[in-house]
Every structure is written in structure tokens, then in C-alpha cells.
């Protein structure tokens, strides 16, 4: 405790140097904090998003969860077969169709069929009749529509270059779509809405969502056995696939940047402390001559490092949080990212890891200056100090 107070006085005595050191650690610590949040942020966010929807299993034709994968045919029959399984709770089929509204505003039409709805109603009511849809807040804002308004869309059902006659839809509510992509607002309704917009009736769907009453893996296995032609994935399997393929780039880049950041902090704190110690060699020798033990002066240096890194680390937390918001807003402009997903997610383990890494950095950075102090020849240093 005494060593800590002594180190604090040492820092206060040189406020400019101490402040710059702390600010430098704060900036580096903020970057480290962000990289730690980024390393698992997307996975944590995706898991949260998948769990929020209330479905445990995703059934697709090809295993591709993006909206460009193969479509499943015979949706009604597939759903009926899945429903017959005793482990299955609710079943919901969804078909996505690209569309364009006046503006032009590109949007996604989401047609659903099943026991529940994939959106959360914010105002108005759920679509009940032909041509009724709920729209996301983003679409409502972009098209300036509210419950009761008419929305005219031109769907592109078979190909991007297809031009179909406009479909007139009636907005009956505003809803939150958990997987709505940034820059791609959504309108949702029954499958009949999509059939009308596409001017054709099909029994296709992009995905069937299933909630399990029993153990999820066993339910997924039962669906696989009942429907061997489709691809069945639990939420955990989806996350695992994303961890292997989709989001590894951010984990890699965060690992590289974390390592570089720590090396940078280590190098610079070491230099700061070493120069500081070298400038105070006479003072330290005098303290040793007055009776301060070797362990005590070494502890002073360590405490100085801990104080600089500790204070910088504390400041880095709000700084890093603010920086993460800015970086997240940049990355969210990436196409195909749901608006409810976040790249930087704070978890208790992130805070712990951040503190541990900074603590290790503080100790490692102090090693060399501590060695200088520990090996300081008292008499020779004092003599040199007097002569100089």
C-alpha cells in the first residue's frame, strides 16, 4: 500500500508525463477492448438473435441460410410431416421475395405460413386478409406509411430483371423483423400476398422454422429421419457453421490487432518506465541509502506501472465503448447484415480478459525497469550523481 502511495506521488510530481502515459494506455486499451468485443461479438449477437426468435431448428433445402439458397418445394406436405412429430411445437414456413416500391426503395417481401409469426408487432394488427401486410419501422419511415396506408410494390420473383405488374398491399401494422437486413426494409404477410405479388401460386419456401418441445438435437434428428431430402440445423449448428466459415475473419483480425496492440502498449510502457527510472537513478540510490529495501524500490516501479496501466485501463472502457459504437456503425453498412446484429458485444468475460491482459502488460512492462532498480549500485550511483 505504501509503495502504491509512493508511486502515486511520483506520478503526481510529473503530471504531464503521467497524463500522457495514462492517455496513451487509454487509447491502446480502448482499441484492445474493442478487439476483444469484436472477436466473439457477431457470434454472441447471432446466437442472441436466433434464440430471440423462439425457434430451435431451421429446415432448408440446401443448408444455406442466406436468402439465395435453394427453395423447398411441397412446403405444405413438409410442414404437415414435421408437425406430426411428437417432439415438435410450432412450425413456420417463410418465403422471401425481392421487391421494389416507389422511390425507388428496394425491399424484401416475407411470406409466412404456419402456427405463429416471425415478427413482433409494434402497432396495428397482424395481417389477416388478402393483400394485408405489416411493415418494418425502416420501411414505414422510408415509404411514409402507417397502418391503413397502401403500399405499391413490384416483386421480382423469378429473376432480378423480371418486371411484374405492381401489387397493391394494405399496411395493417408496424412490426419488428429480427433478421431485417440493413438497407433492406421488410414487409411481411401471408404466403397469398407473395403469390399475388408474383402473379403465380407456388408451394415453395426458403426456410421452415421449428420449435422443439423435447430435446433440440433429438427433435432435429427426428425431422431428418422424417424428411431426409431437406437440410436440418439446430441453432447451435448454425452458430458452429458461422464460426467455421462466415465470421472467422473478424476473429482473426481481432486476434492480430489485439496482439499488435498489446505489443505496442508493452513496448511503450517499458520505454516510459525505463526512461523515467533512468532519470531518477540518483533519487532511487538515495532512497536505498536511507534504508529503503531493494524489494521496496522494485515494488515502487511496479506500482508506477500498475497505476499508469490501471488508470489508462479504466479510462479505456468508456472510450472503447464509444469507439465500438462508431466502428459498429461502419461495419453495419456491410451488405447482408441484419440490423439487430452487432459486431461489438460486451460480455463479462470480455471485461475480465481485458483486465487480465492489461495486468499482464503492466507487469511485463515493468520487468526491465525493475531489473535496473534491483541491480542499482548505491554508492557508485550516488557518487556519479554528486560528481555530475
Amino acid at each position: 500500500m505504501r509503495a502504491l502511495l509512493f508511486a502515486w506521488r511520483g506520478l503526481v510530481r510529473q503530471p504531464a508525463r503521467a497524463t500522457l502515459g495514462v492517455l496513451g494506455v487509454a487509447a491502446v486499451g480502448a482499441l484492445l477492448f474493442d478487439m476483444l468485443m469484436l472477436s466473439d461479438g457477431l457470434i454472441v449477437s447471432m446466437r442472441d438473435l436466433l434464440e430471440r426468435t423462439g425457434f430451435d431448428i431451421r429446415v432448408t433445402a440446401s443448408g444455406d441460410l442466406r436468402r439465395v439458397g435453394d427453395r423447398m418445394r411441397d412446403t405444405r406436405a413438409t410442414m404437415a410431416a414435421i408437425r406430426q412429430l411428437p417432439q415438435v411445437g410450432t412450425v413456420l414456413a417463410i418465403r422471401f421475395v425481392e421487391a421494389e416500391a416507389d422511390g425507388p426503395v428496394a425491399l424484401t417481401l416475407e411470406g409466412v405460413q404456419g402456427d405463429t409469426r416471425p415478427w413482433t408487432l409494434l402497432s396495428g394488427r397482424d395481417p389477416a386478409g388478402d393483400g394485408e401486410v405489416v411493415v418494418s419501422q425502416a420501411l414505414a419511415t422510408a415509404m411514409r406509411v402507417t397502418a391503413g396506408s397502401e403500399l405499391v410494390v413490384r416483386a421480382r420473383c423469378a429473376s432480378r430483371d423480371e418486371v411484374l405488374p405492381p401489387a397493391r398491399l394494405r399496411v395493417v401494422g408496424i412490426a419488428e423483423f429480427p433478421f431485417e437486413l440493413v438497407g433492406d426494409p421488410t414487409a411481411g404477410g401471408g404466403m397469398d400476398v407473395l403469390d399475388a405479388a408474383c402473379a403465380s401460386r407456388t408451394d415453395e419456401s426458403d426456410i421452415i422454422l421449428v420449435s422443439a418441445l423435447d430435446e433440440v438435437d433429438a427433435t432435429a434428428a427426428a425431422i431428418r429421419a422424417a424428411q431426409p431430402r431437406v437440410n436440418v440445423a439446430t441453432n447451435e449448428q448454425v452458430i458452429g457453421r458461422l464460426q467455421r466459415n462466415g465470421f472467422t475473419y473478424f476473429r482473426q483480425i481481432s486476434s492480430v490487432l489485439s496482439a499488435v496492440t498489446l505489443a505496442f502498449a508493452l513496448l511503450l510502457i517499458t520505454v516510459l518506465l525505463t526512461v523515467s527510472v533512468n532519470q531518477r537513478l540518483g533519487e532511487i540510490a538515495a532512497l536505498r541509502a536511507l534504508g529503503f529495501s531493494r524489494r521496496r524500490v522494485v515494488a515502487d516501479v511496479l506500482c508506477e506501472s500498475v497505476l499508469i496501466v490501471g488508470l489508462g485501463g479504466l479510462i479505456s472502457l468508456p472510450l472503447g465503448a464509444a469507439l465500438a459504437r462508431g466502428l459498429d456503425s461502419i461495419l453495419k453498412t456491410m451488405p447482408g447484415i441484419p440490423g439487430e446484429m452487432y459486431f461489438f458485444v460486451l460480455e463479462p468475460t470480455t471485461l475480465g480478459l481485458h483486465a487480465t491482459l492489461l495486468a499482464v502488460t503492466a507487469v511485463a512492462a515493468a520487468l526491465y525497469p525493475m531489473q535496473i532498480v534491483a541491480r542499482l549500485p548505491i554508492a557508485a550511483t550516488l557518487r556519479n550523481e554528486v560528481l555530475s
Partner: protein, 298 residues
């Protein structure tokens, strides 16, 4: 042409899936088989390196290719194995693809009852003669053929969208790094200049004006910052190869992740040297404002 929606699949469904990710080229643009002459009667196919590795294919092998529904399967002889053009939008996904002659693709994918002339292609790539104006050519095509949309390849950068975002992200990270470096740099220079307080005081006492000392500090700053920049560039050139090799191995791609171009090098030097020199001069100026006697501790 294979419908856009069916262009997905998994490696276990080798043949159907292979057709599903076909990149059809005009027959004239297919490179000639390099390693083996195809057997007479069998159409030829090029296989991506990843697909060849996954399916254990080599040049000369005969593969059966069929549309996703498994119908109309045909035998093809592997004429060559190619490295797919790096595609940022497919990072992390191995590119399992075949390149067929366009008539072969149409024969596989067009409905049997389709009238002659009803075939369609997704796109036609055109290489202009050297010096030709691509924009003017595309405008001309758009004017003459209203049903088509022609555009120069320089504008067809939608697939690079994620990487443009990453570029902005990396730029933001670089800015934070520069800010952190600047703070540390100022802290270091303050300490280093303070260490030379007595020397500077003596120089002032023997008659050197402040401006003369500052010039000396400035020259020192330029030399140190220049040496630091050169060292930094050398380090980045070494790490460039390491990082590229790691990520290329990790994602099985030929994409370049880090590229130290001359413009990047110049930008780094243009930032680093003024920053280093400024930090040195500012720290020295703060010291030189003090009384010379105090500096020399007399």
C-alpha cells in the same frame, strides 16, 4: 442457364452441386487444355482447384455432371484445373466450380421442351481493343440494345461492397492507432527532451540562440522519424507476406489481404515523419521557453 436460385449446394452432392455453381463462359474464352488432350467424343470441362481437391479429380478424369434434379447427366473429361478468380464476397467458402462450354451448359439446364432460341445467358463479358473507351462503348450498347444493360467492369463493384466497408473499418482502426501513437510519442519526446535539459541549458549559456537549438532538434527529429519510418516500412513488408500467407492458407483463397503499395508507403511516411518531427519540436519548444540558467541548473 441455371436459374439463379438453384445455384447453391453442398460438397457432398458432388455432381448436382457442381453444376449448381457453374460459371459459364463463352466457348471461345475457355483456355486450351494444358495437361492432356481430351478423348474424342467427350466434352471438356475445367475444374476449380478446390473442387478438384475435394473430389480427388485430376486432368483426364471423367466426371458426370447433372442439373440439381439429377436428370440429363452427361460425362465430361477434365481438361484442366484452374485457380478461381479471388472473390471477396465468397471469402470463407471454398469455390467448388466447373467451367463448361456454353452449349454444354445450355444442353444440361434448358428445359427439354424449350423452343430453339429461347436459351439465355446471365452476362456477356467483352474485352475491348486497347485504348477503347469502355464507358462510351457501354453507352453505345445501351442505346442500340434497349433490352440489355451494359456497364464497364470498373463500375461492377457490388461484390466488393463488404471489402469497401472493411476498408473504412481498417481506416478507422488506423486513425485510433495513430492517435494512440501520437500520445505515446509526445510522452516519450517530453521525457527524452527533459533528459537533455542540462545540455540544452549549457548550449544556451554559451550563446546559441533558441532558434539554433530548435533547428538542431528539428534535424534530429527528421533523422529519427525517417529512420523509424524506414524501419516501419521494412517491418510492414515482412509482415505483409506473413499475413497474406496465413489468411490465404486459412481461407483457401488467392486473395491478397495486405498489400503495401507505393501509395500506402508514401502515406505512412507522410504521416509518420511530420508527426515525429512535430512531437520533438513541440516538446523541445516547451523546454526552450524556460530560463537558460534554470535549464542548466545553475
Amino acid at each position: 442457364m441455371t436459374p439463379r436460385r438453384s445455384a447453391r449446394g453442398g460438397p457432398s452432392r458432388a455432381a448436382a452441386w457442381a453444376v449448381a455453381v457453374i460459371v459459364a463462359l463463352l466457348g471461345a474464352t475457355l483456355p486450351a487444355p494444358a495437361a492432356a488432350q481430351p478423348a474424342a467424343g467427350l466434352p471438356t470441362v475445367l475444374v476449380s482447384r478446390q473442387a478438384a481437391e475435394a473430389l480427388n479429380l485430376s486432368v483426364g478424369a471423367v466426371v458426370q455432371v447433372a442439373p440439381p434434379d439429377g436428370s440429363r447427366a452427361r460425362d465430361f473429361r477434365v481438361a484442366g484445373i484452374y485457380e478461381p478468380t479471388p472473390d471477396p464476397s465468397r471469402l470463407g467458402n471454398a469455390i467448388y466450380a466447373l467451367r463448361l462450354h456454353l452449349p454444354d451448359v445450355l444442353a444440361l439446364t434448358s428445359p427439354a421442351d424449350a423452343p430453339k432460341g429461347a436459351e439465355s445467358v446471365d452476362a456477356i463479358n467483352i474485352r475491348l481493343t486497347p485504348g477503347a473507351d469502355a464507358l462510351a462503348f457501354s453507352r453505345d450498347v445501351n442505346a442500340r440494345l434497349p433490352g440489355l444493360a451494359a456497364r464497364p467492369t470498373t463500375e461492377a463493384g457490388a461484390a466488393a461492397g463488404p471489402f469497401r466497408v472493411l476498408e473504412r473499418f481498417h481506416l478507422a482502426i488506423a486513425l485510433v492507432t495513430i492517435i494512440a501513437s501520437t500520445v505515446f510519442l509526445v510522452a516519450l519526446t517530453v521525457m527524452l527532451v527533459d533528459e537533455r535539459r542540462e545540455t540544452v541549458g549549457v548550449l544556451r549559456l554559451i550563446g546559441l540562440p533558441t532558434s539554433r537549438v530548435l533547428v538542431q532538434v528539428l534535424i534530429e527529429g527528421v533523422l529519427v522519424a525517417g529512420a523509424g519510418s524506414v524501419f516501419g516500412l521494412a517491418l510492414s513488408l515482412v509482415s505483409e507476406g506473413v499475413i497474406n500467407r496465413f489468411f490465404q492458407w486459412r481461407y483457401d483463397t488467392a486473395l491478397l489481404f495486405v498489400q503495401v503499395t507505393p501509395s500506402v508507403a508514401v502515406t505512412c511516411v507522410l504521416i509518420a515523419i511530420p508527426l515525429g518531427v512535430s512531437a520533438t519540436v513541440v516538446a523541445s519548444w516547451l523546454l526552450l521557453r524556460r530560463n537558460a540558467l534554470r535549464l542548466a541548473r545553475r
